[in-house]
């Protein structure tokens, strides 16, 4: 970012707990703390990469920001306006501004709808344009994502995975949103197709000035597309900073382990692996103190008792949540 960064989205203390029900009356006996106090800031025009292992709550966080879920606690401010507690009707205008691209292009497209129908639907829902205008817009969308005009009357099953993902992207672009949440948007694709889609996303961002929240478990992909990166573990952000800093000088032991765990496609590279032991604890019973202490190689006594907060890790806008310094 050369010009001064302005926040487009900000969350403070965002929580989303799913009730765990049990007993004959199916009363909530406990809760799954999928997102547990997240402070996140996305600047206009940037890509924020959100990384974490399965079950860490990154998808839930993405869906909560898109207001597909109602947060249990905390605030979501979009362009300065609070959207965390808005009702269904009141949310309508914001639905146009925030869109999502999903992981599985096989499941996120209605198999009984033509591509034209899928892409027209957002306009119909928001009562935009006449029939002819909508038709024209759909054609423009297809051209933008590199699909032939003839796709309009075809069905999703006639397309390959990569093409289907292009349809998903076109649908997300339909209402000219400002923020797009890409939830594992390229994870299901083969490498040669993955690079095509990543290039498309980068081009669209440049052309339309989009802001992305790019959710993925693949650090190499995230590093490639992001300006800033946030690392998530067990419902919390453990480190955030600009992409280069996170990669060069990771300050949290989890980030360090995550980075060394990625296999490097170079046989001359000598891996200096720091292999984490054990598994991610259950978000229903998260450990006391630091959520990472059960797997941390540097664990100290106070890590087990005291919960660390996100604080400055040296460089500007580089935050970590860890008691120790490396």
């Amino acid at each position: 970012m050369s010009e001064k960064a302005t926040p487009i989205l900000e969350t403070t203390g965002l929580k989303l707990h799913f009730p765990v029900r049990g007993g004959i009356f199916q009363r909530a006996t406990n809760s799954c703390k999928a997102v547990d106090g997240v402070d996140l800031l996305i600047n206009s025009g940037e890509t924020l990469g959100l990384v974490g292992e399965s079950g860490c709550g990154k998808s839930t966080l993405g869906k909560t920001i898109a207001r597909l879920y109602k947060p249990t606690a905390g605030n979501i401010r979009f362009e300065g306006q609070e959207i965390g507690d808005l009702k269904r009707k009141e949310l309508q205008p914001f639905r146009r501004e925030i869109q999502m691209i999903f992981q599985d292009p096989y499941e996120s497209l209605n198999p009984r709808q033509t591509v034209g129908g899928i892409l027209e639907e957002p306009y119909v829902i928001h009562k935009l344009g006449t029939r002819e205008e909508r038709r024209k817009w759909v054609k423009e969308l297809l051209e933008k994502v590199g699909l032939p005009e003839s796709s309009i009357n075809r069905f999703p099953f006639e397309f390959s995975g990569g093409q289907r993902q292009r349809i998903g992207i076109a649908r997300a672009l339909a209402l000219k949103p400002k923020l797009i949440i890409c939830d594992e948007a390229v994870s299901a694709l083969d490498v040669s197709i993955q690079s095509q889609i990543l290039n498309l996303l980068l081009d669209l961002q440049k052309e339309l000035g989009l802001t992305y929240l790019f959710i993925s478990h693949d650090l190499a992909v995230v590093k490639h597309v992001s300006d800033r990166i946030a690392i998530m573990y067990l419902g919390r952000i453990v480190e955030t900073g600009d992409a280069e800093t996170i990669y060069q000088k990771p300050a949290h032991p989890y980030t360090q382990a995550l980075l060394t765990a990625i296999p490097v496609p170079d046989p001359e590279h000598i891996p200096s692996k720091q292999i984490l032991e054990g598994d991610v604890p259950s978000p229903i019973h998260p450990p006391d103190g630091c959520p990472f202490h059960t797997r941390c190689p540097h664990v100290e006594e106070r890590c087990r008792i005291e919960e660390p907060v996100l604080e400055n890790a040296g460089k500007k806008e580089h935050l970590k949540s860890c008691h120790l310094n490396f």
């Binding site: 093409q163 490498v191 190499a220 590093k223 490639h224 300006d227 296999p263 496609p265 001359e268």
Partner: protein, 314 residues
């Protein structure tokens, strides 16, 4: 290797030759649908019947041709001298049987052990693959374990009889990176201890670079390049290998720049032509003859083989 489908017979694997030396690791890499898994199933003679069959060729294992082996004899090889690790540990394990029972089965089948002995060996095996408190775990069901732990159980079953060859089909694809690192590390140390050969099937070039001695790159049912791992990464000769290597995002790459892509997509099996299969996607001009006549598979330097389409390897 051929499959009968509704639209006629398709050839999923088309005349490939592989070699794995004892104690070494061969990586088989390629995109979905290139025939990697079918190759593995063919070696194990586990192709779905009656649609799948091996149309021609031979699979030599320690001197004997596995294809000619009667089903009875094949059963003494499978699971005993050749083990297999599957991708999805939840589907590879029987959900209604205790882990210890599933492991004991292997010893019953191949080593005529008594019940107590088989159980004891199972617990030892679980310990060997790094499962904490193996006595307790042996009495649990697969759903009680995490993904990483389940994959360790699958590995324990594959290695139970001390096989000479293990075929691992995407063993870490379903796992998170930190768990993947644990499993790859475990496989490496077990290989050191037990000295088995490993055929590792994956789509992840990073995993290949870190674990394999030799690599085969497959495309549309054929091996397009085979080389020692260092040679393949330093000096890839086939256009497909080059494209594949260039299209992966790297941690030390220039961020937010265009990645190299391979145009188009993997062709459907029924549309394949006999000549250079990568031709239509290579972005290089192929003559009609080059697309019709199968290029030879030649050795260009010691251990480095390529499918010698003159355009794709110029």
């Amino acid at each position: 290797m051929e499959f009968d489908t509704d639209e006629g017979t398709v050839r999923a694997v088309d005349g490939i030759s592989l070699e794995i030396s004892a104690g070494r690791t061969l990586g088989i890499v390629g995109e979905s649908g290139c025939g990697k898994s079918v190759t593995a199933l063919s070696i194990m003679r586990l192709l779905p019947k009656p649609m799948g069959r091996i149309a021609s060729g031979e699979i030599k294992f320690d001197g004997t041709d596995l294809i000619k082996l009667p089903a009875e004899d094949m059963r003494t090889v499978r699971g005993n001298r050749i083990g297999m690790i599957f991708q999805e540990p939840m589907t590879a394990l029987n959900p209604v049987k205790k882990i210890g029972v599933q492991l004991s089965e292997v010893f019953f089948l191949h080593q005529t052990a008594s019940k107590e002995e088989a159980w004891k060996k199972s617990v030892e095996m679980l310990d060997k693959v790094g499962i904490p408190s193996p006595e307790i775990r042996a009495g649990e069901y697969p759903h009680q374990l995490s993904g990483g732990m389940r994959q360790r159980v699958v590995i324990a079953i594959a290695l139970a009889c001390g096989p000479e060859l293990v075929i691992a089909d995407e063993p870490t694809t379903a796992l998170d990176v930190t768990i993947q690192a644990q499993i790859l590390d475990l496989m490496k140390s077990l290989q050191r201890d037990l000295g088995m050969a490993v055929a590792l099937i994956t789509h992840d070039l990073g995993v290949i670079a870190e674990t394999c001695d030799e690599v085969c790159v497959m495309y549309a049912g054929r091996v397009v390049e085979r080389a020692p791992v260092k040679t393949l990464f330093a000096n890839p000769r086939h256009a497909y290998t080059q494209g594949l290597l260039a299209s992966i995002p790297r941690l030390d790459g220039q961020p937010k720049t265009h990645l190299r892509t391979i145009d188009g997509m993997v062709p459907a099996l029924k549309e394949l032509r006999p000549g250079c299969r990568f031709g239509p996607r290579s972005g290089r001009e192929h003559t009609e003859t080059q697309l019709e006549a199968r290029p030879e598979f030649i050795e260009i330097e010691t251990g480095h083989w390529i499918e010698a389409c003159p355009v794709c390897t110029e």
